[in-house]
Amino acid sequence: METFIVNELVRELANKHGRTRESLLPILQDLVVQNRYLTSQDMVDVARELDISAADVFGTATFYSFLDTEVRGKYVIRICKTISCAMKGKNDILNTIEDTLKIRVGETTSDKKFTLLETNCIGWCHKAPAMLINDTPYIDLTTERVTEILRGYMKK
């Protein structure tokens, strides 16, 4: 008989959300809250807990842009690139972040602290440009304000 090393977090989340297919997204979402991304092993472990195929877990996770399956930093910055933010100077904000963190869109800092991504409309068009850092929205951004926000996170 095969023995597996139990992934404590996955087991805990399965206990919390249940082991039906309906529990899959809440489990994956909570894993992302904890670790910012899903490892292949996480997905295999979730599949085992829910008794479904790992391919189903992978297929579901990769459908959703917020369920990252690549390494992400502790703070995931998602800057809105949809029209209202684009019109109100999103590129200036993006350039400022890139210069400050020394990474490009899609990259993660070498200390695994920040990941910079673009995203579609996050529902703050009247206070554009806007971005999310993990779950927190930041709105009415200016180059000065975004530098200040990043400095705050760098100190954390």
Binding site: T82, I83, C121, H126
Partner: protein, 386 residues
């Protein structure tokens, strides 16, 4: 002085005592609730505009003992942010609206599906939900609501994709029919409504259908919460009476240099200045889920269209070919015309493709890409080419 045409309304954000509504609905026959909402002519505020009372009645007639109420809070349409404000300011009213629907349909279980981008609202929603459950118990309404989160997929705002997502799957839309009222969530009869629609139903319960109908026009009754952004000196959220023309809207919200208004987001229509006066904002003219974006003469409509197509190319779920390939081809097509690799007649081919997508796509996403594409290309052709 110019007359102000826009009539502001304050119903959606009005504070309401949920107990008062609960007392009322528990004293009414379920069918009477459906009838009252039907009499009000309330149409869905998410954008599609299906009569709410009819949806509820269809679901109520189903024999299945298990039925669901779903609140669609997956507000993803570019330029729409009113549901966030409603959930933030009057969350109890949204749950109360779900109770009205539950009583009308005969459902014991509800889901609120919130887009992942609004996760920061969860603590507030949970507090309001606990309070709601206490009130439901007081009135012996056997109805429980669960909150589910999306994870950044626009398509999950499409009702059947939203069901798939709650069921723990990829958010891929289903074929219709069957419609949600007969086979929705977990293949059970389901009434799915937009956040704002549910809140309107609370106000209809409070003030009656007749009062609701005093506002708006024959085809578009009542008021609507608009999300206004772009080139305007006063972006924000406004509840306005339905039935105004784009001209009246621009007089109020424009910056004096408005050349186009995109009504209904990326999936909606672009109205150029020459059509402002004749175009009514409502189901008789250009319908909208509330997104109103103003563009002034400094904006390139090519950039606007490019942004929308880039959006759709990313957000298409990819399961049906007309939408998946169509979005990509439209995007590459306008780029090729802009670069001069294709001549301007190629735009006619692209318009034909957009029409094909409208006919052949499986769901509302692919079917509506042609709205923005057609209305921008036809009205701003020179900006696309040069």
């Amino acid at each position: 002085m110019k007359e102000k045409y826009i009539r502001r309304v304050d119903l959606i954000f009005e504070k309401v005592n949920c107990r008062e509504i609960m007392e009322k609905i528990m004293g009414m026959e379920p069918d009477a609730i459906c009838q009252e909402v039907l009499d009000s002519d309330l149409k869905g505020r998410g954008g599609a505009g299906f009569p709410t009372g009819m949806k509820w009645r269809f679901a109520s007639k189903e024999k299945d003992p298990v039925k669901y109420i779903v609140c669609n809070a997956d507000e993803g349409e570019p330029g729409t942010f009113k549901d966030r404000q409603i959930l933030d300011e009057v969350p109890g009213k949204v749950f109360c609206g779900m109770a009205v629907a539950a009583r009308a349909v005969g459902s014991k279980s509800g889901y609120l599906y919130l887009r992942g981008e609004y996760r920061f609202l969860i603590p507030k929603l949970k507090t309001a939900l606990d309070e709601f459950h206490r009130i439901a118990d007081e009135f012996n309404l056997n109805f429980r609501i669960q909150i589910r989160l999306g994870s950044g997929a626009y398509i999950c705002g499409e009702e059947s994709a939203l069901f798939e997502s709650i069921e723990g799957k990829r958010g891929e839309p289903r074929n219709k029919p069957p419609y949600p009222t007969s086979e929705g969530l977990f293949n059970r009869p389901t009434a799915i409504n937009n956040v704002e629609t549910l809140v309107h139903s609370v106000m209809i319960m409070k003030y009656g259908a007749a009062r609701f109908k005093e506002l708006g026009t024959k085809d578009s009754r009542g008021s609507k919460v608009f999300s206004i952004s772009g080139d305007t000196p006063k972006p924000g959220i406004y509840e306005l009476e339905l039935g105004m023309s784009v001209y009246e809207f621009v007089e109020e919200f424009g910056d004096g240099d408005t050349k186009a208004v995109q009504v209904g987001g990326a999936a909606g229509f672009c109205v150029p200045r020459k059509r402002f006066e004749e175009t009514i904002i409502g189901f008789e003219g250009v319908p909208t889920g509330g997104s109103m974006k103003l563009f002034n003469s400094t904006r390139s409509m090519y950039n606007v269209l490019h942004n929308y197509l880039d959006f759709f190319t990313e957000e298409s779920c990819g399961q049906c070919t007309p939408c998946r390939v169509g979005c990509q081809q439209l995007l590459m097509g306008i780029e090729a015309v802009k670069r001069g690799e294709k001549n301007s007649r190629y735009l006619e081919e692209l318009l034909k493709l957009a029409k094909t997508m409208k006919i052949a796509s499986k769901c509302g996403l692919g079917q509506s890409v042609g709205n923005a594409f057609g209305s921008i290309v036809e009205n701003f052709r020179e900006e696309i080419i040069y």
